[in-house]
């Protein structure tokens, strides 16, 4: 159970997150949505103990994570950062092996348990055949799977993923999200991630957290969070929300940004009222 208690986080004198309270429900998929720069990555990094809040605290299983060793925390909670970097020579297997680092002994022996975790992580991410390829030579989707495999090899109950699907095409996005859902449903991993595609977020999440200006604007089931009001408040976008014809989850259809420049989009974007009318007719 991961819990942020009234945290304030910043970089230097710049405060990014303020008075934020959040409880990550165990066994669920929680997705953060919010505009660029609103503090989603900062929040995720704070939850993963990478940033120390200037006020408040983060509790993992009831204990302050900043009072525990990084290694101990890394055995319970894995993070995939937004733009991870590995040296170009590193192979998929070597990357995944890195996930065993927190479990290692000081001199770094290698146990059967370690090997098994690596093999299973490779298999779960469908990477066994690519194991000896340098990560640098993989496609975007494969590379992302390799990084996720690294976090799986950590064998943590909690998986924090910062934009795992960004820069992937639709089929690879679905691919990753299906795998994550499988990990959650079948293997009971608690997953916390940042997604930019609202509709996929609504489809795949148990809980959505709308982050706005460094605090939680609203949170709850997708039906509760994905409303025109919330979208307007956090993205400054007018939209209509209809049920997703496939999954039944809320589907957001954007109409226009509220402050769009006159003329710039004039030819393409219909006036909000007109568009809404058109949609209502269509339904």
């Amino acid at each position: 159970m991961l819990l942020a208690e009234n945290i304030q986080v910043g970089y230097g004198s710049k405060i990014v997150i303020q008075e934020l309270n959040l409880t990550i429900a165990p066994g669920q998929i929680t997705t953060f949505i919010g505009a660029n720069g609103c503090g989603k990555s900062t929040l995720l990094r704070t939850l993963a103990r990478l940033l120390k809040p200037t006020a408040g605290t983060v509790l993992l299983d009831g204990r302050d994570i900043f009072k525990r060793s990084t290694r101990e925390v890394a055995k319970q909670l894995a993070l995939l950062p937004q733009t991870p970097y590995a040296p170009p020579e590193v192979t998929v297997r070597q990357l995944v092996r890195l996930g065993r680092y927190p479990h290692g002994r000081w001199l770094g022996g290698w146990s059967d348990r370690d090997e098994q975790a690596v093999q299973e992580a490779l298999a779960a991410m469908k990477l066994t055949d690519l194991a000896d390829q340098p990560v640098d030579t993989l496609s975007g989707g494969q590379r992302q799977r390799a990084w996720i495999a690294m976090t799986l090899a950590q064998e943590t109950d909690l998986l924090l993923l910062d934009e795992p699907t960004t820069y992937l095409d639709l089929s690879h996005q679905l691919d990753i999200l299906d795998i994550l859902r499988e990990l959650n449903r079948r293997h009971h991993k608690t997953i916390v991630m940042v997604l930019h595609d609202l509709n996929l977020a609504a489809r795949y999440s148990d809980v959505m957290v709308a982050v706005h200006q460094g605090t939680v604007y609203t949170q709850g089931k997708p039906e509760k969070v994905m409303t025109p009001e919330t979208i307007r408040a956090i993205f400054d976008v007018e939209c209509v929300v209809i049920p997703d014809p496939v999954a039944g989850t809320p589907l957001c259809i954007p109409i226009a940004t509220r402050n769009h420049e006159v003329g710039e989009d004039a030819g393409r974007t219909q006036e909000p009222a007109q568009a809404r009318h058109a949609l209502e007719l269509a339904r």
């Binding site: 970089y11 040296p87 092996r97 890195l98």
Partner: protein, 354 residues
């Protein structure tokens, strides 16, 4: 709670490491090293029969060879050890700075040593060689502490480390030149040989003085390998895996300084090896640090040993300092490697320093 990953259909346990490539490379390098050592002992103004030499090594005494052994062997060993240390130090630095263009000579660490040794020679012209390693180490340490102190901003960022290091290197070079100008001619010539990088006249005491530094710091680096390894990934990745970035960087940097100081004490400022050896090693075995470090050290030793042997014999009676050779041959070779198209593009992966 529930641990473990999805059980896959077929999970066969395979050997942990892809050891074989590394094993082959190491075996070949060690073999090369031994062979080249024997060749190096044989060649020179007087050619020694390698067979007789081997016998001498194993105990049977031939007075003449014994004599040569006492002249040549320590020099070759000094070259070998200095090279190993430089290769190892270069690999450490490239790993913690995440940049394949980093090397102890570029970052002012060697520069600090040079200034210290020249200063020592200037102040105490008759000082025993036993003071060279500590002086070199002290110089390297002062430079390193300066680099550290100036690059530190609530943690250590690799980029700042490089930039400050280059500046400190330039300052150390200026100081060295100044000390040289201020010295008497005989000190100048001794210092000059040292600055170019030379193992000329190394004897057993020299080797004995340098050996503990190189072996000690080498072993320590090898034991610390997994922690240096993880520093090669972006800060967020390694920190999330439980690595303590700043302490590990400090330790890694200290190990690099120790090795560099040892190498400088043995062979002076031998250029380019700290860049070249890690680069070739990376191409051979990749960047898993334990393997990379060992390979780079072996390569460094071989390079310097060969360079010194050629310098000693090819232009006889002229004894060309080894440093000239490593640079003259190493630099073009390095350019050749770069042109062959191996990736050397700028490396990202640096986030908030911590």
């Amino acid at each position: 709670m529930k641990h473990g990953n999805p059980p896959s259909a077929r999970t066969h346990i395979r050997p942990a490491y892809r050891w074989h490539r590394f094993t082959v490379v190491t075996a070949v390098l060690v073999l090369m090293m031994i062979l080249l050592f024997i060749v190096s002992l044989s060649v020179g103004e007087t050619f020694l029969d390698p067979l007789e030499l081997t016998q001498t090594l194993f105990g049977s005494t031939t007075p003449y060879n014994q004599l040569m052994l006492n002249l040549r062997a320590p020099r070759i060993l000094a070259a070998l050890l200095a090279g190993c240390a430089l290769g190892g130090a270069g690999a450490i630095l490239q790993a913690i700075i995440r940049n394949p263009l980093a090397s102890p000579d570029l970052l002012g660490i060697s520069g600090g040593s040079s200034a210290a040794i020249v200063g020592l020679l200037l102040l105490f012209p008759n000082v025993s060689v036993h003071w060279h390693p500590p002086a070199a180490l002290l110089g390297a340490l002062v430079a390193a502490i300066l680099i550290y102190g100036l690059a530190w901003r609530k943690g250590l960022s690799p980029t700042r480390l490089v930039l400050v290091g280059i500046a400190i290197g330039a300052m150390a070079a200026a100081l060295t030149t100044f000390l040289l100008v201020a010295s008497a001619p005989e000190v100048q010539s001794r210092a000059y040989v040292w600055l170019v990088g030379s193992v000329y006249g190394s004897d057993w005491p020299d080797v004995a003085a340098g050996l503990p530094w190189v072996l000690g710091f080498g072993l320590a680096s090898w034991l610390f390998a997994q922690h240096i390894h993880i520093l090669q990934f972006s800060d967020d990745v390694s920190a999330a895996l439980g690595a303590r970035l700043t302490p590990y960087r400090v330790i890694g940097f200290a190990l690099c300084v120790g090795l560099t100081g040892g190498a400088l004490a043995l062979g002076g400022a031998i250029g380019f090896v700290g860049l070249l050896a890690p680069h070739i090693a990376r191409m051979l075995v990749g960047t898993e640090f334990g393997k990379w470090f060992v390979t780079s050290a072996l390569l460094g030793g071989i390079i310097v040993m060969v360079a010194d042997t050629v310098g000693r014999t090819a232009f006889s009676p002229l004894d060309v300092p080894v440093g000239i050779f490593t640079s003259a041959v190493g630099a073009p070779f390095f350019i050749f490697l770069l042109l062959r198209g191996k990736r050397i593009e700028g490396r990202s992966g640096e986030h908030a320093a911590r």
